[in-house]
Subunit: 627 residues, 2 copies
C-alpha cells in the first residue's frame, strides 16, 4: 500500500505499521514527545483520502476528528492513503537552538589553542613487501612499521585482523590504519584501508538527553560539522523523566526496550546522514556520547537500578573506551566510542562536557554554570575547584508536562508581550508564521507578563476578574495566548502548567542558593553565569530574574551557551587534549547531594513565590515593581 503526503513524497506501508512508523522509517519525523504512545496528541495528520484504522483518537476534539485529523501513531492504512501533515506536527530536525549556539564549531575548537587530534586517528604506512628472506606475517609486518613511526602497543581486534591479508595486498603493502589511543601506553586499531580508498573519515558527537537526542556528523580530518540531526528521545513513551525510565528499566525486559529505543533513534539519524552525504558507515570511526548518568547507562544497556536507590551509585562513572559493535551503532564496528565521564548519579557526563564547552574550568574567576533541560544541574567553580548539584526541576522548560509546551524549534512562541491597556498578548514565533506551541523562554515571558499585569498573583494563581482571556478550561482556569483561526486551535497556559513552572523555577533557584552556601560564597563573587540548555539565545534574563528562577545579577554577567552537551562532545571528539581536560574536570568536580546537606526544603518553599518570599534577594525586581 502507498502512503502519500500532500506536496511531498510517497512511501510503501502496510497494515502492521502505523503512519508514524512508516514516516519515521522514511526520514519524515513528527512531533511526538510521548514517542508514539498516543498520549501526547501531538503527531496529528489530516487524512485527505483512502482508508485507515484508528486505534485511539487520544486527546483529539470533536471538531478535529470531524476535520479528518488523526494521530499518526494510532493510525494504520487499510488502502492507499493520502495525508497532509500540519505545520505544528512537523518535527524540524536540527532546529537552530536545541543544537548549539556555536555556528562556527571549527573556530570554537581553535579558540582552545589545541591542535586537531581526533579520537580516531590515521597513519599512512608503506610496508616493505614480503620475501622469502623477510617472511614475517602480515600483522607483525604492520607492527614493525607502526613501531618505526613511534606507535607501540597497538591492540588488534579479531575483526581487524580478519581482513588484513586482503587489505595489504590490495594496496601493494601500502595501507592507511586508523586507531584510537586508550592512554599513553595502549592504543586500539580500528580499520586498515588500501591507500587508493577514498579517505573520508568521520566521527559523531552524540548528546543523549532525557527528552531529545542530537547527533553531529563531523569530518574529523578538519572538524567541519557536516550535518546536524536531532529527534525526540523515543524513550519518552516509557516516561518523561529519568526516574520513570529507571523504574521501567528494572521491570522485566524494560532495560532492553529502553536501550533499543534510544539506539534506534540515534541510528535513524546516522543512517539518514550517511545516506544524505554518501558516507559509508564503516568510515564513521569514532563517536563521543554525552548524556546524564541514567541515559548513558541505558545507552550501554547497564542496569540503572542502583542510581535511584540510596546511596545513589551508578555502575560506571568513567567508561572504558568501547566499540561500535558493543554500542550497537550503525557505524564501523571497531569504531572508538567514548563516553563522557559522569560525576554522580544525578550529575552526568552532559554536565562535564558542558563545563568543558563553557571554559569555566580554565578561568581563575568564579563562575556559575546552569544547565536547564529535562532536569537542572548547577555547578560553581574555577580553574582550581568545581562544586556541583542536581535540582529536581523536571522537563517543563523543554515542553514536558506543559499542555502546549514544545522545544525551542520552528513554530514555538519564544516571547510574549501583554499590552498594558487591552491586556491582550502578542507573540513572537521562532521561524515566524503561525505558532504551534510555546517553548521555555516563551513560558517565562508569559508568567512574568501575567504577573506584572496582575493576571496571576505571587503564587501563580489566575485572577479571572482581570480579563476574559482567563477562562474556564478542561483543567480549571487557563489563559488564552493565541488563537489560530484557520486551524481553529487555541494555545493556552493552564493552571496545571503554571504550578509546574513555578515548582521548576523554585527547584533551580533553591539549588543555586544551597550550592553557593555550601561553597561559602555569595552572589557578588560570581564573574560569569553560563546558562546551558534548550533556551539558547532567547531567554530574557530580566524576565527570568523577575520570575525568580536565576540570581539577580547584571545581565552582562550572563552568557547563553545553548546545548553545551553536544558542543562539549564535539570538542572531546576532535581533540585528545580536550578529552584529557574533560577527564580532569570530572575528577575535580565535588558532588553535593542537596537532600542531605540540610535546608533544601526551606530554600525551595521560599522560592515558590514570584520572584521570592525574600525580596532582598531580588533588589532589581523590587525596584522595577516599585515594591
Amino acid at each position: 500500500m502507498k502512503l502519500s503526503i500532500t506536496g511531498g513524497s510517497s512511501f510503501e506501508t502496510n497494515g502492521n505499521s502505523t503512519i508514524y512508523e512508516t514516516l519515521k522509517a522514511n526520514g519524515v519525523f513528527l512531533v511526538s514527545p510521548c514517542g508514539g504512545k498516543g498520549t501526547c496528541g501531538k503527531c496529528q495528520v489530516k487524512v485527505i483520502s483512502g482508508g485507515a484504522t484508528v486505534k485511539s483518537y487520544g486527546k483529539l476534539g470533536q471538531q478535529e476528528r470531524h476535520d479528518g485529523i488523526t494521530l499518526a501513531c494510532q493510525t494504520s492504512a487499510t488502502s492507499d492513503l493520502h495525508i497532509e501533515i500540519p505545520e505544528h506536527s512537523k518535527l524540524v530536525l536540527g532546529g537552530k537552538i536545541a543544537v548549539s549556539i556555536f555556528k562556527d564549531t571549527v573556530a570554537y575548537l581553535q579558540s582552545y589553542g589545541v591542535s586537531i587530534d581526533p579520537l580516531a586517528k590515521r597513519v599512512s604506512l608503506t610496508l616493505p613487501p614480503p620475501s622469502i628472506q623477510d617472511n614475517i606475517g602480515d600483522l607483525q609486518r604492520l607492527c614493525r612499521s607502526l613501531e618505526e613511526m613511534g606507535i607501540t602497543n597497538m591492540r588488534f581486534a579479531h575483526k581487524f585482523v580478519s581482513t588484513l591479508m586482503e587489505t595489504l595486498r590490495e594496496g601493494g603493502f601500502n595501507t592507511i590504519v586508523s586507531y584510537s589511543k586508550q592512554n599513553d601506553t595502549v592504543c586500539d586499531a580500528i580499520s586498515a584501508y588500501p591507500p587508493a580508498h577514498p579517505n573520508g573519515r568521520f566521527g559523531l558527537a552524540i548528546d543523549i538527553g532525557t527528552t531529545t537526542v542530537v547527533v553531529y556528523m563531523v569530518d574529523i580530518a578538519n572538524g567541519a560539522v557536516i550535518d546536524i540531526g536531532s529527534t525526540y528521545n523515543s524513550q519518552t513513551k516509557y516516561g518523561d523523566d529519568v526516574i520513570t525510565r529507571i523504574v521501567h528499566a528494572t521491570e522485566g525486559g524494560g532495560l532492553a526496550d529502553l536501550r533499543n529505543t534510544v539506539v534506534g533513534d540515534i541510528n535513524t539519524i546516522i543512517d539518514f546522514q550517511c545516506g544524505k552525504h554518501n558516507i559509508e558507515s564503516r568510515h564513521v570511526e569514532a563517536a563521543v556520547i554525552s548524556g546524564n548518568t541514567t541515559m548513558t547507562h541505558i545507552f550501554w544497556g547497564l542496569n540503572p537500578a542502583s542510581i535511584r536507590e540510596d546511596p545513589y551509585i551508578p555502575t560506571v562513572n568513567y567508561y572504558p573506551l568501547w566499540h561500535g559493535s558493543q554500542a550497537r551503532l550503525a557505524i564501523n564496528q571497531q569504531a572508538a566510542v567514548y563516553t563522557a565521564p559522569s560525576v554522580a548519579s544525578y550529575v552526568g557526563g552532559d554536565i562535564v562536557t558542558g563545563i568543558l564547552a563553557s571554559k569555566m574550568h580554565r578561568s581563575p574567576g568564579i563562575s556559575l554554570f546552569m544547565d536547564i533541560g529535562t532536569n537542572a544541574e548547577v555547578a560553581i567553580g574555577n580553574d582550581e575547584w568545581i562544586m556541583t548539584a542536581a535540582c529536581s526541576a523536571g522537563p517543563c522548560f523543554e515542553g514536558g508536562g506543559i499542555k502546549f509546551g514544545m522545544r525551542a524549534t520552528q513554530g514555538a512562541i519564544e516571547s510574549i508581550k501583554i499590552d498594558p491597556a487591552t491586556l491582550t498578548p502578542s507573540v513572537s514565533v521562532i521561524g515566524g508564521g503561525v505558532p504551534t506551541g510555546i517553548c521555555g523562554s516563551g513560558m517565562i515571558d508569559a508568567i512574568v507578563e501575567l504577573y506584572k499585569h496582575g493576571i496571576i498573583n505571587q503564587k501563580g494563581v489566575f485572577n479571572p476578574a482581570k480579563t476574559p482571556l482567563v477562562r474556564e478550561g478542561e483543567d480549571g482556569l487557563e489563559f488564552l495566548i493565541y488563537r489560530d483561526i484557520i486551524q481553529q486551535r487555541d494555545i493556552v497556559l493552564t493552571t496545571v502548567d503554571m504550578e509546574n513552572l513555578i515548582r521548576a523555577k523554585a527547584a533551580i533557584f533553591a539549588g543555586v542558593s544551597l550550592l553557593l552556601r555550601e561553597a561559602g560564597l555569595t552572589l557578588d563573587v560570581l564573574e560569569r553565569v553560563y546558562v546551558a540548555g534548550g533556551f539558547g539565545n532567547s531567554l530574557n534574563i530580566e524576565k527570568a530574574v523577575m520570575l525568580g528562577m536565576i540570581p539577580d545579577l547584571p545581565s552582562d554577567k550572563y552568557i547563553f551557551l545553548g546545548n553545551t552537551s553536544i558542543i562539549g562532545a564535539y570538542l572531546t571528539l576532535m581533540s585528545d587534549t580536550l578529552r584529557g581536560e574533560l577527564e580532569s574536570i570530572a575528577s575535580r568536580m565535588t558532588y553535593i547531594e542537596l537532600s542531605v546537606v540540610g535546608g533544601y526544603m526551606d530554600e525551595y518553599m521560599s522560592a515558590m513565590f514570584i520572584p521570592h518570599t525574600d525580596l532582598s534577594k531580588f533588589p532589581s525586581v523590587a525596584a522595577a515593581l516599585g515594591l
Copy 2:
C-alpha cells in the same frame, strides 16, 4: 524415532540426520577420517533391525552389504533402528598415545621449576560498600581495590561491566575477579563472581592437528587434567592435507565451512566434558590453541590463501590474546584465548609448543626435534639458537592415504614380525584383541620386515614369487598382514601404500639432512633426538633407522614425546613464565625454506631407497644386513 545400539544406549533420531550425526551429537564417535563424506568407508555399523535409507555403500563389498553392514554417514533411519557398532568402527577418545605420553602432567609442569600462574588468574576483593560520602561508581570502586592489590591498567569489556551491578550487590561488595595478563602493563578482566559462588575454574589446552583434534580440560587452580578428549578433525572431508584445505578455504564460502567444522569438533568435546564433569561453561576461562599455521588461521577464520603463495606469508605469527566469543568456543565469552605463535607458514605454533615440551631450548647441548604427524617438521638447536624446516611428508604415518591406516589407538597394529621360515606375519595390537587397522609404527615395522625378508626390494616393490601372501589386489600387488576370520576382513598393505610410505620417509630424512647441512653440523654433535607425533612410545628406533627415516644414531639418544603440541599447550595454559618462554622460543627460531636453499631434490631422491642410496650414512644398517 529411536536409534538403539547393541549393549548400549538409545537416542532420538530423525530422517534428516545420518546415523553418524546422531551418534556424534550424543557423544558416540565413529572412526571417520573423511569426516562423514562417505569416501573412507570406515564408519561401518551393522543394522540388526528396523528401516533405513542408504545414500551410498561406498567401498563396502558384496559380503559386507549382505551381512547388513552400512556406512553410518550415508545411512538415515526410516523407523526405529537397532544397530551394532563393530570394534574397528569405534573411535576411542583419549587413546593413550595420540594424546600425550606425560601421564602426570602436574609433575611435568613442576619439573620446569615454575609456579602455577595460569592464563586466567583470580583475585578475591573486599570492597568498602558505597555511601553518600563514598559514592564513586561500581567499576571505579572495583578498580580502586584492584590498584590496592597492585593490579593496574585492567581493561573491562562491555560484557563484564554489564552484570557488575548485580554481582557486587549479590556478594555484599565482596567479589572474585578473574583476569588475564596481556603484558606487563595491561590485563583484561574476564568475569566477576560473588564469593559464595562455587569457585571451580577451568582452562583448555587444545591441539588442532590437520588430522586430529585433542582437548585437555584442566583445573587451572592446580593443573590437574580432568578429562582428555580427541576426535578426527572433520575438515578432512575437504581434503587430507593443509594444501587442499587452503584451496577449499579460498573458494567461495570454504573458509567459513572449514572454520565451523573444526570449531564444531572442539565444541562437541567441550560440551561433552562440561556435561560429564558438571562444569558450567562460563567457568572455563582460558584456552590455549596449538596448531600448525594453516589450522590456527582457519580456527580464527583468517584467510590462509597467502600461506601457499610465494613467498608463503601468513596473516599472523604472533596472535593477539582474543576472547571466547571471537573464538566461538562454548566457554566463557570473555575467556582469554591464547594462540601459540608460529614461526612461518609451514612451521606453526604446534612446533613451538613442541619445543617447549621437549625442553631442548633450555639445554646447552644440541638436539634434533622431529614432529611426525600429518606433516613433518624438524628443528635443530639448543638454549641459544634453533633452526627449523618443514618436510612435505604427508599424513600417512597418521593413517592418511593408507588403505588400512589408522591412528595409534586401540585396535591398531603397532608392530609386526615376519617368521623367517614361513614368511607369515604376527602382529601386536594396541589394547589387544582383533586388529582394526595399522598405525605408523606398524607400517614402519612392516616395511622393514618385508625388506629384510626380500618380500619387497630396496625401492619397496613387491616380489610375488616370494610368498603367496603377496597377491593381486584391487590396486595392484598387496601383502596380507592379517585375516579377521569372524568379520571376514583382510588387513593388507598395498603397492600404493608402499609408495606413499617411502615418499614420506624420504621427505623426512632429506629435511633433517639439509637442516644439519645449513647449520654446518654433522650427526655426531647431536646429544638428543626428540621424536614427537602419533608414534609415541611404540616406534621401534632400530626399524625406523633401518627404513632410513631417521638418522642412524644410538637408540639411547632418541626420546619419544608423543603429542608435544598438546603438552606444550598445557604448559602454556598453566604458567605465564612458560608462556613467555614459548614466545622467546618462537622469536629465536630461524626458518629454513628447504625449496630455496638448493640440493633438496638430490637429498630426497637419494632417500627414496631403503635405507638410502648412500649406505655410509647408515653404518649400523649396513652392518646388520651384512652389506
